[in-house]
């Protein structure tokens, strides 16, 4: 079903026996296939446009090294631009602020916020030896607060006691208060899922941010997201001081184009990725891996690198 960019490009470019620099026409033909490959990987159309422009600039006139085909050369350039756009350096969660440091989790319904909240808490507690408190501000979804409480038990991280009838903003205040009094280093604030066109909930989310003044505001988004990734990332970025993105469900077989879309429109780093339902399945983001996935290719890049 799935044809990698490399295979497609070889059809077009490898027919050219000509060596030397890539011509404008070569690149033009290749870019049509690049565009299609990116769209099939769910990279948003507007991001694809800007991206192919960048690739064109870099590719036209590029010298094709002896041991590779023009197709492989173009793929290598596409790959490099992908990695650059995705953010070459890994950025960790930043705890460099006076405790308690608040980390607020936001995103669409079902994207994986609550699970990721627990995963990050576990990591900060175990690896960074921080004293962590988790609080669920989700008063909407049935059993959402209970879900976080159970996860807290599983990872031996404290959760803010559930008080019925409080608003999310009130819970945020209570969480910060409890964290100060209890000497916690970090407070994880899990919020309810929301559609970004839901004005009331988007306003509520901004209020929570104002109340808790989080040091990190992480957008949790599904790696399987389609074209809407740009709109959702932009909408959350406009209403909050987003500090990063967490991409979940990378254990799926999705191509992950949403990563590029969201990174490109917000400029915010993808800090972590979720690779399963278990609470230790949280990893650092590797742009190279996502780039390879988006392009659906194996070792072509290392091949060109060696050349």
């Amino acid at each position: 079903m799935f044809e990698s960019l490399q295979e497609r490009l070889s059809g077009i470019l490898d027919a050219l026996t000509r060596r030397g620099a890539l011509s404008d026409a070569d690149v033009q033909a290749a870019l049509r296939e690049v565009r299609r490959a990116l769209l099939e990987a769910d990279v948003a159309l507007e991001v694809v446009r800007g991206f192919t422009d960048k690739v064109r600039e870099r590719a036209v006139g590029a010298e094709v090294v002896k041991s590779v085909t023009p197709g492989q050369m173009v793929v290598k350039i596409v790959h490099d631009v992908l990695v650059e756009t995705l953010g070459s350096d890994a950025e960790a969660i930043d705890l460099n602020a006076p405790p308690p440091v608040a980390i607020m989790m936001v995103g669409l319904q079902g994207s994986g916020k609550t699970t990721t909240t627990a995963k990050i808490a576990k990591r900060l507690a175990e690896r960074s030896k921080r004293k962590v408190l988790m609080a669920s501000l989700d008063t909407r979804r049935p059993a959402a607060q209970e879900q976080l409480r159970v996860l807290g038990e599983q990872i031996s991280v404290d959760t803010l006691p559930i008080v019925a009838g409080q608003t999310p903003v009130q819970i945020a205040h209570r969480a910060m208060q409890a964290a100060r009094l209890g000497g916690y280093d970090v407070v994880m604030l899990d919020t309810a899922g929301r559609q970004f066109v839901d004005e009331a909930l988007m306003a509520e989310m901004a209020e929570i941010e104002a109340a808790a003044r989080p040091h990190e505001v992480l957008l949790v988004a599904d790696a399987l997201t389609g074209q809407d990734a740009v709109n959702l990332a932009r909408a959350f970025d406009e209403r909050l001081s987003l500090t990063g993105i967490v991409l979940t469900r990378l254990d799926g077989d999705g191509r992950g184009g949403a990563a590029l879309s969201m990174r490109a429109v917000t400029g915010k780093p993808i800090k972590l990725v979720g690779t399963g339902e278990k609470l230790d399945q949280l990893e650092e983001f590797h742009p190279g891996r996502i780039a390879g996935r988006i392009l659906g290719m194996g070792d072509i890049v290392s091949l060109v690198e060696k050349a």
Binding site: R36, L39, E40, A41, D42, A44, L45, L108, Q109, G110, S111, G112, R140, R141, P142, A143, A144, E146, Q147, L148, R149, V150, L151, Q154, Q195, F196, V197, D198, D222, L224, T225, G226, Q227, D228, A229, N231, L232, R249, D251, G252, D253, G254, R255, G257, A258, E277
Partner: protein
């Protein structure tokens, strides 16, 4: 979908164009791609449009209408409601899908609908894995007046399916809605568990499950095609529900899915509330994709 206004705007930009030329077709194709139809489906639809109207004078309104008609032609045949067969006691509906797609919520909404129709409903808490998944379903049981069959978290999901079948039969329930844990279709062990659940159900009623509903999230892009393909293979999906169409999520992948699989689309989710489940209207959905601001 509210996305229609954004698409509507870009289509209005076509108003100035008088001919259905290459450029216009390309713009239409891009509209469809942005609605998640995928390159292949988008190209096929605009191709059909081109065959019929190429180089003819056409207004933006007409473009919109013809485009909507092409999309509706694909979707029309799949708009089919979930029908409960009273001969089954219970009519067993297995609900499956990837993580977080909206299975449990959809079960709650369906239960509410069946209860309104005066049916006796049993819910099986087959997600024995995720934290508080059982509590979540129990709350939906309370909201809808359906009884909930559950075991402790961590128990065997197939065992729970057995319990739920047995209880629903003993209660002489009209409908059994069986919830399952979210699972990505590329995980062989979890998919095997689903097969086992189906086997256990069949042991008690070889005609069951009478429906296997795959719940898809409208925000999902091209991966939804893989989801349908594999869930269908493993557990014989008989119909779809698409959730979260209250966002700007466009759900256009449904067009590609309809073209390839022809599976019925039973309903759409348009919110988190108990009444936020609507029957799937192909025409309305198509108009929203084509940018008709009156739709949705």
């Amino acid at each position: 979908a509210r996305s229609s206004s954004a698409l509507g705007q870009s289509l209005t930009g076509l108003l100035r164009k008088r001919r259905l030329d290459e450029e216009t077709l390309e713009e239409l194709e891009e509209l469809l791609i942005q609605a998640d139809l995928g390159v292949e489906t988008a190209t096929r639809i605009t191709g059909r449009l081109a065959r019929e109207r190429y180089d003819k004078e056409i207004s933006a309104e007409e473009v919109r209408a013809v485009l909507a008609a092409e999309v509706a032609a694909v979707l029309g045949p799949v708009a089919r409601p979930l029908v409960i067969d009273p001969a089954h006691r219970p009519h067993v509906i297995l609900v499956v899908g990837v993580n977080g797609s909206g299975k449990t919520t959809t079960i709650g909404k369906l239960a509410a609908r069946f209860r309104r129709e005066g049916r006796r409903v049993v819910l099986g808490a087959g997600d024995t894995f995720r934290a508080a998944a059982i509590e979540q379903l129990k709350i939906w049981g309370e909201r809808t007046g359906a009884s909930v069959i559950a075991r402790a978290q961590g128990s065997d999901a197939a065992g729970l399916a057995f319990d739920a079948m047995k209880a629903a039969r003993e209660e002489s329930a009209d409908v059994l809605l069986l919830d399952t844990a979210g699972r990505l279709h590329n995980k062989a062990d979890l998919m095997a568990e689903l097969e086992k659940i189906v086997r256990v159900i069949r042991k008690q009623d070889e005609t069951a499950p009478h429906d296997v509903v795959l719940v898809l999230d409208a925000t999902t892009g091209q991966n939804a095609l893989n989801q349908v393909e594999i869930f269908r293979k493993v557990c014989g999906v008989t119909g779809l529900v698409m959730t979260k169409l209250d966002g700007t999520a466009r759900g256009g992948i449904l067009v590609a899915i309809a073209a390839r699989h022809g599976l019925p689309v039973h309903a759409i989710g348009v919110g988190e509330g108990i009444d936020d489940l609507q029957s799937f209207d192909a025409g309305e959905f198509a108009r929203a994709i084509a940018g008709d601001t009156e739709a949705a």
